[in-house]
Symmetry: D2
Subunit: 153 residues, 4 copies
């Protein structure tokens, strides 16, 4: 039961980025509000690589009848940004400078569960570059993104 | 009252892109589902330029305490893509190939209403390039995006 | 005649970015080596906006018979980066983090003189965003770019 | 000896993209003019992946004393675009729609030979996405790029 007690800010400041993210996965920290709003599930990962999933619903659609590019971008931004987050030492922070998304294939409610997988390509002292790939339920590549982040203390 | 009757698909196919978007604005076509899910408002525009707005809420947040980059991307993708849509002749369609977002300033619930304004930079026969700017309530630039679209018949 | 004497490094360190660039334009500083290698001409501008030109030659071509995308990227990177450079105070430096180029129209030796015009979209304390447009001799938009830069002291 | 005779246009039209590129590598087709202008060497590869190299020289420099971002972009654009070219069937053509470059580390004449390696990430009927990585002589990642291409018959 003590496992599910929320962590306080003092505890948070002494944790590495990966420990913070795993605490969020394990319910010791509240989930990201946007994750709840859109229905992201199965947040998980390791140092340098974070993944998150989503079951497409009609409420995610654009007027063209497919999952809106912004929802796809949200999944990729989450996977890429959190991958960089997972490399932070205690006391470090980060901010995303950009997100470049390539839409390769439409996604619909028939696509199965979407899975975004982020990976850190480069980690410098002040900057980091991550990429993220979004796969549909059949394992086909739906979209690809890169994101540059700035690291600060 | 007849104004608020929904349009059927046959009618839709004979309308220009701008007429379709203005019908959506006027409630003659249903709004984009993602627009309702996230709370976009004030969809409007003209040939080559579409804007949309959103009041930031806590449910739009990332774990860092600001509006998630994916929500910002969704607003920019909507403004850019719909700007291209507004240039379509009856019978033409489009698909977004990419979205490149630059995050310039964090947005929070204290930012005031966010306003995304899209503009078509180039319109060829088979491709189009649009940019979009996102402003906060004080008129400061929060983010910038470009998006390439493919046009088809 | 004293006008054409090269500036020394001590002098350089006390100049604003714009003064440095205008000294380069006026021959008081040597031109960028790449500008000579590729044949860039008419480097000029003001605070926040720098332009440069190039007459397409066969030696700029790719195997497809048009000006190589890398040459187009070089012009856009120069215009965008130098636009940011033109906003630097004495003692500040910058580095380009990225360059996103959209190729809109092929350029050839028949395109006339190409003109790249950069503009700073946003200038923060630590980052800046610039865009650049490349026009052909007829004023048509050949390519578009955005570039994020990091500012340091 | 007959091996070194240039191929004529009729022969070219019946060759796959990879055969065309390998003919260029083997001197049966003239090299890309920009490759000679900048000094690219060791063009090589296979279906879906093309690499090219360059020894940094002072003439490649920007005014900041490092290899100009445009030269880096040219190497990445070549590797990415040719990787897509290598997947073309006889009679197919392609054009690059964009190039997104992330500059990760400065390159100088002390960096050793630069090596750009392109890879096709996705190949559809009408579009393709490639990425390219640029390594220095020590194998460190200097820059990264993605490029979307349009395929046509």
């Amino acid at each position: 039961m003590t496992q599910t007690q929320p962590l306080d800010l003092d505890a948070l400041a002494t944790m590495s980025g990966l420990d913070q993210l795993m605490a969020m996965r394990d319910g010791l920290l509240p989930p990201a509000p946007i994750a709840e709003t859109l229905g992201m599930v199965n947040f998980d990962g390791e140092h340098g690589s974070i993944s998150v999933e989503l079951d497409p619903e009609l409420r995610h659609y654009n007027p063209l009848g497919t999952v809106h590019g912004g929802v796809i971008s949200t999944l990729l931004d989450t996977a890429a940004g959190c991958s960089v987050h997972s490399t932070l030492a205690a006391g470090e922070g980060y901010t995303s400078l950009d997100l470049t998304v390539k839409f390769l294939r439409p996604a619909t409610v028939d696509s199965g569960r979407l899975r975004a997988v982020g990976t850190v390509i480069q980690r410098g002292r002040r900057t980091a570059l991550a990429e993220a790939q979004l796969f549909d339920g059949a394992g086909k590549l739906v979209a690809h993104a890169t994101s540059s982040c700035m690291i600060f203390s």
